[in-house]
Symmetry: D2
Subunit: 349 residues, 4 copies
């Protein structure tokens, strides 16, 4: 039996860090060998340092592991980063320079020309950007996963874009409070309220969507030329980002054709049977009132995007609803799947 | 001093019925002389029959008034109806035939050619449809107010439509649970959830918007030819419908021009100083994160529409956020204002 | 291999009925052979008739099973009943008379002298009441599980009662909305609110506690003579009943002794390794702020009672906090465990 | 006309600071002449510095007032303090030493022997402690109002204590998130959860209750010798602390006698018609399910304590439910009423 790859987690005690721990505690290919967090937490056990938010307490494998500081001397080959933006901007290049293969959920390097902004089902060939990274020859690199709200709409649109060409998109998000981390949104701001603004989110969604739906040809990434407009809102749900989408295509297309494309989609991660890849990338619900945040966010262990209510839009052409779990598909799960794809493609040797 | 007009309320014990009671208990022009509800409640005092949902208990003027059955023999001239759809379809024509002037929040007759679907600030001249009603000569008629979610967007768009011509609209609603009445949405469906479907709501919004923004000329109502597409969602807030709007205009226009039109809007109900008309029809917030449901729904005693975040939309032309109190501006308050306009225009003699 | 016992579920589409389905779909001893619900649902598939509330949809084994009417001609030996009170009062004796072994979550027969009100860890010997039931010789009988809020405090107190004698208890419940079933509590009553009243609940808690902590001797059940006072409240959480308890004992006792008794408790269902019995009946948390409803309700698959904050009470002697999942330990899980105990004890032959 | 007393507010931008502003903006006796907050906010206008949480925006009288630093050189005679604990401990004596009359909502000096812990309806004569304060001769002093959760139960018990003697109390609180200030409780901790712990709260409730129900005789305060045990919980409501209370009295007493005492209570602040004193100190509801947090917290402009469900308790003697608005009666409103009493009694000359 092949030994597992030793992995470290940066910001391991936060909301997304905990999801990394949850997903990696029993992973068939990776094993957690390092947990890093703030100077405050360093030296404590994970159990002591972490205010565990998920049911049933931290996994026993890591509960008594000691927390390290976030410095590039961790005992591991591969890093998952849940660092906040400012720290990510500073620290992540240090880790890549030191030869670590870094899979990050943070935003600072997502739009860099030589960083793959990766969803394995959507743009696996963007991994070909890696050799362009300066640190690649020394073994280190950065792969980013997208913003949690971008994940949902991009996965729903990707097979349609391949089949029919997406021309224009208007999306309205209804995002859960866990998307803002911990402590994140104060109760006084969320209880009995909707906040129609999340800093930077609308721009990220547009930019990241065009990058991920872009094509890698001639050694370069060509962004998708589609028009994209987002309205981002925070609503009082715990997990799961629900999004309504209006879309226009390059080609004329029917409801049945769109549904058929979603249901037939069986991309590379599913073909490769990657451990974190859901059986169904997109699940199409037929009921008039689905997906719903609470009922469908855990589909496919939180890695499936559930869509429904596909119908014509009088202004663009079609409209529908899409949902995914922001902390799993939209963050930690997406990053773990990225590493699994990189492993399968030979980038982790 | 002129004596007040005696008014009755149908379905007076429900969520919207209670709002009618709240608004009419101390009204300068109207006085409550009849309260009607289901056979179950008839004969009880209002206090006994009503599960009062608003702070501070039912007003003392009506608390001990006896409930009547919903039959067209009520001791009043004017009726406000909060009847559920099925009962409204059957009963409201009986009241109009019996000579009552009926102002209804119910949906069955909103789209009838001879029924004004009225927002006093938006289409006061639609009252001219009244003489076409068969019962008009006998004194009875029906005036409807729109669906609560249509009110918000129509008020925000009306002055822009007049100034620049609205060509296309995509709106996404985030509607509070009080919009579904009582008992309405079960807690198990709303807590930690979003439901992306409200039966009939999307169609109503489109149809009613085109009717209300239509022009009355040559004795006929010509619906506005704009394209309209709605995504309607139920979120876990109590009161207030928040809506995100993308819009395209006939004319080229700037952010400043749009803002100027909103701020300068001072239509007839405000000029006439109608009792329920808010000082400002549209309040423009400059903060990046406003309006918010809880903070802004009570602006102008729940009769003002608050807008914010006006910015360009890459797909249509502009996008913004709009909010109003669904049970006040969007229901009972809208209906009371309709009656005040009808009074000022001489339709209640 | 022994074949499984065929079981039916009454009111299978409701909140608790769904939990029965969830627990029995892959049970090692029981298999679902009949699903019964209202006349409305009869003849439909379970998938069609049921508004499934739990993540991930109804189990595939039952999704296409046809719903029967609630009549005592179901194809099964054993019945789990989630009937509402009125229907339970009428129907359950019919099933017992027809020879069905009935395990019910309903309240009407809980306090009947010959009905075991059973928590397998607490009073397994109360099953000895069964032969006194008139229908027993024909094979049919009724076993009840307690009210969901009684389960929590009784399990926490049972080992202390055995060791030290409970003299007096004041308990305050903070109960989740799922305890009221579906549609149950309207959103307008739960959002941003606490309701300090649940019909009949306080009396049930007192009566049921005294019965369950009673002793079966000389062929009779002698209720525990303890004083019991409950304050029952509905709070805006989805699942899990959190209770604060003040208690006085017959004997003088220390915090360490109480903790030791809880941690050492390893009663018959755990010794017999019954499938639904949790490894730990009572989990003692040391943190100052635990148990918490959301974090601890799923401990032991929702069958463990989590306690914490044990400290002295200036008025009685000690006080602590206890929590369990109302729909699992407090309802369907409790009933399934009752049937497992009855099977192990030879009552299902 | 007598000119108003000029008052300053410390920590004016926080949750309780905003309530002080709301209550004092149109006060008949006091006028806001200084607003102080953190160094960060100093120099900004109140509108800029404050994230206003209450409907309708900050009052126009203060919106453009400049924020000062929290130093004892404010242009006012009287200070209302909403300082957090640590700052209050350090700063409040500085203000008293500088001759300011300070009314504080903070906890550090509540239990000091020479500080009146005041609820005007309960213990107005405790103001007689003031001359014992070292700074009194120079004009400065400290008067404290109690912890928000103590206010509720103390007001409900005070007239009963006077009439029958309270011997023992067990209270369970269900406290709203606004009690923890802003940002306070993270959404991830409150949504779908109950937290059965609030640091220091249970001890404060016991100590403060005994002090406030104590008697001032022979120049000394003699604490009430009653037994008191509290269970304190945070629940997902916005405003209002609901408490269940079990109580034993020195004298034998009936439900009717208790009710009569509550309803007849008309203490000094009501007799003096102090501006912030509610018409009814205690409102007794007869319905089985009242008070409820959302429906009753605003009674008497948030200054009335609403009680209900009075019935016998099998363990102590009686039990009931009590509710008040934590940010008004339990904090800012309590403090303003304290100042009004001090004014009426001649302590502000």
């Amino acid at each position: 039996m092949q030994s597992k790859i030793r992995v470290g987690i940066l910001a391991a005690t936060g909301t997304i860090g905990q999801r990394f721990v949850e997903l990696l505690a029993n992973h068939p290919k990776f094993e957690i060998s390092a947990l890093a967090a703030s100077t405050n937490s360093a030296g404590k056990t994970y159990r002591e340092a972490c205010r565990w938010q998920i049911s049933n307490g931290p996994p026993s494998q890591v509960a008594d592991m000691l927390i390290s500081e976030c410095k590039p001397d961790l005992d591991c080959e591969l890093i998952f980063s849940a660092l906040p933006t400012d720290q990510a901007r500073e620290r992540e290049p240090e880790f890549a320079s030191a030869g670590y293969k870094l899979f990050t959920n943070a935003s600072p390097y997502r739009m860099r020309d030589d960083v793959p902004l990766l969803i394995p089902e959507v743009n696996p060939d963007h991994l070909k950007l890696l050799p362009a990274q300066q640190t690649f020859s020394s073994g280190g690199f950065i792969v980013a996963n997208p913003n949690c709200s971008a994940s949902v709409v991009v996965i729903a649109l990707a097979p349609l874009h391949a089949a029919f060409g997406v021309k224009a998109v208007i999306v309205n998000t209804m995002q859960s409070v866990s998307g803002a981390g911990y402590p994140g949104v104060p109760s006084l701001d969320s209880l009995d309220n909707v906040i129609p603004y999340i800093p930077g989110e609308e721009e990220k969604m547009a930019d990241e969507t065009r990058k991920m739906l872009g094509r890698f040809t001639d050694g370069h990434l060509h962004k998708a030329p589609l028009k994209f407009s987002a309205h981002c809102n925070r609503v009082p749900s715990r997990d799961g980002h629900l999004e309504t989408v209006s879309v226009a295509f390059e080609k004329s297309v029917s409801v049945d054709e769109i549904t058929a494309v979603w249901e037939a989609w069986y991309p590379e991660p599913q073909q490769l049977d990657l451990p974190t890849a859901p059986h169904q990338v997109v699940s199409v619900r037929k009921e008039v009132d689905r997906p719903q945040t609470r009922l469908d966010r855990d589909t496919g262990n939180g890695m499936t995007v559930t869509v429904g209510r596909l119908r014509s839009c009088e202004v663009l052409e079609y409209k529908f609803v899409a949902l995914a779990h922001n902390a799993l598909r939209g963050a930690a799960g997406g990053s773990v799947l990225n590493a699994e794809l990189a492993l399968a493609k030979g980038y982790l040797q």
